[in-house]
Amino acid sequence: MGAAGRKTIALLFDRLSSEYAAHLRRSIERAASQKGVSVLSVVGQLLGDVDASAVTQNQIYELVSPACVDGVVVVSATMGHYCGQEGLLALCRGYAPLPVCSVGVAIPGIPSLVIDNHMGMRTGVEHLMTEHACSRIAFIGGQKESIESNHRLAGYLAAHEQLGISADPRLVRHGDFTVKTGILAMRDLLKSGVPFDAVVAANDDMALGALDVLSDAGISVPRDVIVLGFDDINSAHFTRPSLSTLRQPMWWLGERAVDLILDQIAGRNVPELQAGPVDLVRRESCGCGYQVGVTLHPQQKDLGSVRDVIALYREPLTEAMRAAVAVPKDTLGNWPSQLLDALDQEFSGSEGRFSEAFEEILERAQREGASLDEFQRVVSVLRSEFRRFRLEKKDEDRYMDRVWHNARVLVGAASIRLLGRQKLEQQEVSQWLSWVGERLATSLSLSLLREQLVGSLAKLQIERCAVSLYTAPASKELKLLVACTESGQLAVAQDKFDHHQMAPRALFEGERPRHFVVMPISFETEMLGVGVFESGTMPTVYETLRQQVGSAVKGAILHREMVAQVTIRERLEKERIAGEARLAAEIQTSVQPAVLDVAELDLAAWSEPAAEAGGDYYDVLPAREGAWLAIGDVTGHGLASGLVMLMIQSMIAGLARQDCQLTPSAVVSAVGDALWDNVRRRLKRDDHATLTVLKYHKNGRFTFAGAHEDIIVWRKNTGKCEVVSTTGFWVGAVPSVRRMTQDAEIILELGDTLVLHTDGITEARNARQEQFSEERLVAIIESKGGLASHLIRDAITETVRGWTASVDDDMTLLVVTYVGG
């Protein structure tokens, strides 16, 4: 039992979209349905195709096993173009112990259904030679390795031999059974200049390509060159001129293939080889026009009426009509007999009855996928046969012509309606495919892709489907991405399963046999998963969908990997920044003065780097006559700011120690010049710094220069603070700050306190985003004025820490009280 709990047959194809494949699939699905059997059409690429992408897709054939099917039909006719009989045999043997049958190529030891390619082609070529007097017939074959093509070539050569006409090897070309290669071969034949009067192709697609080239070259078919195809695909009816061809018995192949598998399952003996007949279909491209059925009587015969003819010749007329239309016997019921009954009633006085019955049969034929065009042949058969009788009722002749005319109009109208509807359907499907493609292409996660697939497949009239992805490269386990039935998304208990199962079993279950298309979900050389879609819509939908889903899955996987990469990089970047911040903080704290010891001054300092440390800087450098004090803040954060701060610290320390005659403005200006050069020109950065340098001259006197935050001075005698603005400009922001930098002076009285700070303190924000502000800083200093410097410092730091929830910027504080000698 297959996955559905009923008999299931796998049908192996190399592609869905050729008319041959579509027709064969339809006939096998139809025959299977009638016998209560499900079909899984497993679609890969040509066996033995060395293209890496094809090799990947062909892994799908390896999934066919007793886990999901009861028998295997291999469409050898097309799959074996590259690998030949040996490759096909290996494939078939690989499915043992499953019953296998080959369609199109006879494989030793494997029950095979073939058509008589040799005899078919020989008949066709002989027809061109005997009835159209052709003697220089070109042959366009398939791949040189193709068994079918070689059989047809042998038939072509045998016809030449039979009729004593020598075949010119210069007139043989090879394509790959596609329209494109038919075009190329025809162009090559014309270019060679070797004369020919007919072209026979090994299939219709290549013949259609040849027709196009001949038409473009102004060569009339069939007047100048006759063209004959092989297969009788749908398009052969509609080309201008319509294509004469050799018809494959597709319905016979479908029915027999299903029977062969079921017989083997039942343990019945089956013949190793069965050959189906090939019919010559004469259309316009060979000059025959429509073939007109059998001939009941070579000579005219006298009879009373139409009704007499029907009564006497019902059976041969029925057979002649049936032969004109290529549908299985039971597909449309006993339609020829119904039509003859209607004709009988028409001539018994029920005017319009024949048209009514004919229209009803055309509708049924359309539903069954038969070619409506062939019913023109039915009219031709009837017209031709009835003309062979001289009727006593002379008026019936004219009436009969009206009946045939009406019937032809009906066929024409039905064909046009059908073509219109097919065109509309194709347009609609094409629009939906484009819509689906856009949505799938933008699904950058597998969960989004799942959602899009659920919505998309309904639009494409695919009710049941499952898309599963491999859990890892080279894994044999699939994990379900999405499964849908007509009732909505399918919930499954086990979303992981062996890949031979192809899809959750529930997908295949149901009261009636269901047919599915099974395709590899791949991207280039990567096998990503398996898609199982219910059969029923146009073949191009499945092939396009397969590519769209493959690309979308790959895109989603790549996106997931990219996100993971980005996450890793972000983490590394964060770690790098954190590392830099730690290093910057170390730089900041390591260059801070270890001891604050200056005569006459009581000093206390505090500096707290933020998480992403900036470049706060303060220094106290005792000198022979007093000391140097400095405070600054480098813009920006991180290691670079820390390094700029280190530059400033080094320069000031060096300058202060070298020359005791230097003024603060000279120091700031020198630092400004050097910083512009170092930072802007060498480091190519745009950092700058606020910087105030103070020189303590003893006896409470300070001179200072450089732009930083205000200097707050608490006066003991008033108990209030004075706010002294710093002037000048930021170092490193402009090439030189000399013009803007001037010295100013502050004199502290005994017990007065001077407070230097960075903006991290005044701009510290609370939960309501309010800044701590200089006013609050002043208020604390005034409330603690007169206390020792470290107590003032502690009061400030405690209040600021209580104010702000998180430290966003470095905070630095230097409290200096003049205590005298």
Partner: protein
């Protein structure tokens, strides 16, 4: 970008509105001038400079009264703008409008005036 060729900024924490008033380009900054604002301010000032260089406007007014904060990186951006205006043109007058009741505003911008005393003015107005 509107007809002023300046993108208005309207992110969660920071906004810039641009308006023309005769030959003067007015930029009104509001919100929080923190690290998030830096890139927006930089782009806006670059666009403003392009407009000023093309002589669409001959004056610039930057109103910061509705700002809660202007951090050093934002100020650095303004410094760069003023420096380029001065050194590479067009050398237009720039007026900063600050809130007379918000003490940090004139203080934060004082250095800008020192950078270009002939070109930068700071005007205190009611918020």
């Amino acid at each position: 970008m509107d007809m002023l060729s300046i993108d208005e900024v309207n992110v969660e924490s920071f906004q810039i509105k641009a308006a023309a008033e005769g030959e003067r380009l007015n930029l009104r900054l509001s919100g929080t001038g923190d690290m998030v604002a830096v890139a927006h301010l930089k782009r806006c000032l670059e666009q403003a400079r392009a407009s000023l260089k093309s002589r669409i406007f001959t004056q610039l007014l930057v109103d910061i009264r509705a700002l809660y904060l202007l951090n050093s990186s934002c100020i650095k951006t303004m410094v760069h703008f003023i420096y380029l205006n001065l050194e590479e043109g067009p050398g237009v007058p720039i007026e900063f409008v600050v809130d007379e009741k918000v003490t940090w505003q004139p203080r934060a911008l004082a250095a800008l005036k020192r950078l270009a005393p002939k070109h930068v003015t700071i005007t205190s107005k009611a918020g």
